[in-house]
Amino acid sequence: MNITLNGEKKEVPDGITVLGLLQHLTIQPERVAIELNESVVRKKGYSTAQVQDGDRVEIVSFMGGGAYGASRPCRRNCNLRTAI
């Protein structure tokens, strides 16, 4: 079937779920937000939300950086940068 993915036509397997689409595209679900026909699909719905022929899908990547230079680990030494 054909869908519109990020504004461009794309052929994908029939009867696929949102999660299946991400797997098909080798995209890690944790790194993106998904819109199906201009509605946001919540993470817990990825495995049940069906993608239909003609659907419009937007996949938007998380982007966190403001390009500061002097980031440092947080006080707990986890790998989240906490400089602003």
């Binding site: 790194r31 937000a33 919540r42 938007v60 950086g65 940068r81 602003i84």
Partner: protein, 285 residues
């Protein structure tokens, strides 16, 4: 082209409004005042506006620069870092002579030197759930150019709770994203990105690199949004996320609907208190 008609237009734009501009101000802002959409009234709005920048880095630098040039009267700068040499490839508010100086002080010097009408208020603190409301309460508009998810979510949630307009942006390698959040009217950051990605899942610019000019383009788009919000002209990025790719030189605008189930701005919010860095961090331990 003769200058005379322009001067007449300028005089009539000023005369139509009861403003107390100095001669220097009339000259400094003449190209604004000449625009019918701005005029003397709009310039007065800019001079009265109070905008706070979260960060004086890659994004905050150009935002502050253009807002200062535009005559935004009060600019807050929240940053507790110092200028390092690796910043100078993109953080244009600073320069080599300011290495080791607090970024907030460096930005203040730059912006106030550009335009003496501007008062820059420095906040040399790391934003936390304890201090953010006290800092942003005095401003009309918040500009987020932070480089990490804990701050990004903290700023979004605080702006929703305090009904502060927010222009949020992020950059990565050759790409950037920008959106404008008007609490109560349009979606918030969590409407699209409900919860932060697991720690380590999304690399930072420090790890992945960033083309310096990308911060300039995206920061300048943020500044444009701020100026339009102040002037109440045109359309903003409320309800959409603008994506830009420098390599393709392509823009994509993704419509973002309000999410009725949004945990912070939805019909039944589950997040009613600010979530702190430490709690975010501890989620990974």
């Amino acid at each position: 082209m003769s200058l005379r008609p322009a001067v007449r237009n300028l005089e009539s734009a000023i005369e139509n409004h009861d403003m107390d501009f100095t001669e220097d101000q009339i000259l400094r802002y003449s190209r604004h005042i000449l625009l019918p959409e701005v005029g003397g009234e709009g310039q007065e709005k800019l001079l009265q506006a109070k905008v706070v920048l979260v960060g004086a880095g890659g994004l905050g630098s150009p935002v502050g620069y253009y807002l200062a040039a535009a005559g935004v009267g009060t600019i807050g700068v929240i940053d507790n870092d110092r200028v390092e040499i690796s910043n100078l490839q993109r953080q244009i508010a600073h320069h080599t002579g300011r290495l080791g100086v607090d970024k907030a002080d460096s930005a203040k010097e730059t912006y106030e030197t550009l335009n003496p009408d501007v008062r820059v208020v420095t906040h040399k603190e790391r934003l936390t759930s304890a201090n953010i409301k006290g800092i942003i309460k005095d401003y009309d508009i918040v500009v987020d150019g932070s480089d990490n998810f804990p701050t990004r979510y903290l700023v979004n949630d605080a702006c929703v709770m305090m009904k502060k307009r927010l222009v949020s942006a992020a950059v990565f390698r050759f790409e950037g994203q920008v959106t404008t959040i008007v609490p109560g009217e349009g979606p918030c950051y969590r409407c699209l990105f409900e919860v932060p990605p697991p720690p380590g899942m999304v690399p930072s610019c420090q790890e992945a690199g960033i083309l310096g000019v990308v911060t300039g383009v995206i920061g300048t788009i943020q500044a444009t949004e701020v100026v339009k919000l102040i002037l109440e002209i045109g359309g903003t990025l409320m309800g959409s996320l603008l994506l830009w790719n420098a390599l393709d030189m392509s823009f994509r605008r993704v419509k973002v609907p309000r999410n009725p189930d949004c945990p912070v701005c939805g019909q039944h919010p589950t997040i009613t208190e600010l979530i702190d860095y430490e709690q975010f961090c501890s989620m990974s331990h």
